[in-house]
């Protein structure tokens, strides 16, 4: 390890690291730790979901029927597809094929945009129908309404809103990676940045894979 530094260090190596593998390892470990904090952030929401589902089982079932299953399903497919393109991008980055990386990232970004547009449609419909959290809840047919319904929408908006925020941040990161690819940044030994961005995108996807069945299906 020590001998590597004695040679001419490649410019990518920051001064405080002993060697490039160490630096890359640090970046990977850092990313995984960051992802674990993200998981725990959403875990809090899932705990809320679980507690209230337990308190108001019928409401929750009725609430999920109010969501648009087709739109949710399309979004799931879109996101899973984008995860696939990101995985390809990472793979191409490893091989240093910057053109393909760029192309794959464009596809991913398109998917992210589609996801957000569809989400926007869903939200505007909810706003229209008054299916909103807390005090803003004002659905037309109050007849036969179950207690706790506003709560369902609190959880729905908190969870999908936080997730959408992550999609936006993730898209930002991927745009940055696309710029790097455009500038022929990645090479066989230099792809950790893309790898980490890919991991982040997979996390965003993974969270949705939990949210989708919990909110739309059951």
């Amino acid at each position: 390890m020590q001998s590597e530094t004695a040679a001419h260090p490649p410019s990518r190596l920051a001064g405080h690291f002993a060697s490039l593998p160490v630096q890359d390892n640090a970046a990977r470990l850092g990313m995984w730790l960051f992802l674990s904090t993200e998981v725990l952030l959403f875990a809090g929401l899932f705990v809320c979901y679980a507690s209230y589902r337990f308190l108001y089982p019928e409401t929750w079932a009725a609430g999920s029927r109010l969501l648009s299953l087709p739109l949710g399903t399309i979004n799931t497919v879109v996101l899973i597809g984008s995860s696939f393109t990101v995985a390809l991008a990472v793979d191409f980055a490893k091989q240093g094929k910057n053109r393909l990386v760029f192309f794959m990232l464009l596809l991913t970004l398109a998917a992210a945009a589609t996801f957000l547009v569809i989400k926007g449609f869903e939200y505007s419909h909810k706003f229209h129908a008054g299916e909103l959290p807390g005090v803003h809840f004002h659905m037309k047919e109050t007849e036969g309404l179950l207690p706790g319904m506003p709560l369902f929408f609190s959880v729905y908006f908190a969870a999908t809103g936080l997730h959408a925020l992550h999609v936006i941040i993730g898209a930002g990161v991927l745009t940055w990676m696309a710029l790097k690819a455009w500038r022929n940044h990645f090479s066989v030994g230099n792809y950790v940045a893309m790898e980490n961005a890919g991991l982040y995108w997979h996390l965003v996807d993974l969270v949705w894979i939990f949210l989708y069945p919990l909110l739309y299906l059951i």
Binding site: G134, V135, F137, T142, E143, G144, L145, L146, P147
Partner: protein, 349 residues
């Protein structure tokens, strides 16, 4: 024992739980004091015994033996487990009210305590209880979380909106003791005080009789700080207006006829048969619950169609409706005591 209690500033002991818990209290605190002094003195002795004698003094390389390590772990472990076991024994005891306990409903709201008895009388900021008889408190809050604390009885329980909690005590000494609110609840949290008056059994009977004569409520409330009591007539009138506005009268009547829902007349204090066969006594808590979580208890013979008013009625509006329904009771229902505990407290797991 008495010496320690004075040393530790323990308040008067006025319940069966207090005398149970105080011995453990003294044991735990004396052990704590001894342990910290023990550790402190040993350390001071070492500081002196092993003081530095020359600048670059070297020392021996000492590591603990397995025996030392075992002691380090096991001594505190055994001590703490003993504390736990004794504490948990007492705790389960105070968590399980005896079957024959007398019930009192406690309602906390910013910033007063309201007590109502199944037998009739109710009061604000003064709780009357008989000595040497277990009393169970069924508590709920109208607004934010409060906490009901009687230092002399060593009992405390949070009072939570939208749910019932309970606790119980058996007072041993007649006298007057402080009740504090110990969960921060806003501006006058520190003034949310009340008194518990423990009466000898026969005095208590007399007090109850006295309360039943004449206009009971006003009598009782007069004992308390009147500035805290909202004008009753106004509340009931507000309630009368509200039941119309909120649409209650679409399903309920105020003339004794059954409609889609049960009539409001004579509702308060009535024994209601529920869907499952059990019965329930209608009190403030139950009426509130009917408005907030109507599906919780279904009156037998009626459909489960009542909507929730959760979030649609403010707490004061709820209070007004409850007061209105209470004002519709027939003359003598309040004199019949309910049988046994009526509420299984709702607890979160």
């Amino acid at each position: 024992m008495d010496f320690f209690k004075r040393l530790l500033f323990l308040p008067e002991q006025a319940s069966t739980f207090a005398s149970k818990v105080d011995e453990l209290h003294v044991f735990v605190l004396v052990a704590t004091i001894l342990a910290s002094i023990g550790v402190g003195v040993t350390a001071l002795y070492f500081f002196f015994r092993f003081r530095r004698r020359e600048r670059h003094q070297t020392t021996e390389y000492i590591v603990p033996t397995v025996m030392t390590e075992f002691l380090f772990v096991s001594v505190p472990f055994v001590l703490f487990l003993l504390w736990f076991a004794l504490g948990f024994r007492d705790y389960t005891w105070v968590q399980t009210p005896p079957r024959d306990a007398m019930d009192v409903y406690v309602l906390g709201k910013q910033w007063m305590w309201k007590f109502s008895y199944p037998e009739g009388p109710n009061g604000v900021n003064v709780l009357h209880v008989p000595a040497n008889r277990p009393v169970r408190l069924l508590m709920t809050s109208r607004d934010v979380i409060h906490s009901f604390f009687i230092p002399a009885f060593r009992i405390k329980r949070d009072v939570i909106p939208g749910r019932y909690t309970d606790t119980w005590f058996e007072a041993t000494k007649p006298g007057t003791y402080d009740i504090y609110c110990t969960e921060y609840c806003g501006l006058s949290h520190s003034k949310m005080l009340a008194k518990v008056v423990v009466l000898k059994a026969e005095e208590y009977e007399n007090w109850v009789k006295e309360q039943r004569m004449g206009d009971k409520q006003n009598r009782q409330d007069a004992l308390a700080d009147t500035t805290l009591v909202s004008p009753r007539a106004n509340l009931a009138q507000q309630g009368q207006r509200l039941v119309g506005e909120a649409g209650c009268l679409k399903c309920h009547t105020v003339d004794g006829e059954q409609h889609i829902g049960p009539t409001f007349v004579g509702l308060y204090g009535r024994e209601e048969r529920l869907e499952g066969g059990e019965t329930i006594t209608v009190d403030e808590g139950y009426i509130t619950q009917s408005m907030m979580v109507p599906g919780e208890h279904i009156v037998s013979g009626f459909p489960n169609v009542m909507p929730t008013y959760q979030g649609k009625l403010h707490s004061m509006e709820t209070a007004a409706i409850v007061e209105y329904i209470k004002s519709l009771r027939t003359r003598d229902v309040v004199n019949t005591a309910s049988k046994g505990p009526v509420y299984e407290p709702v607890r979160i797991q």
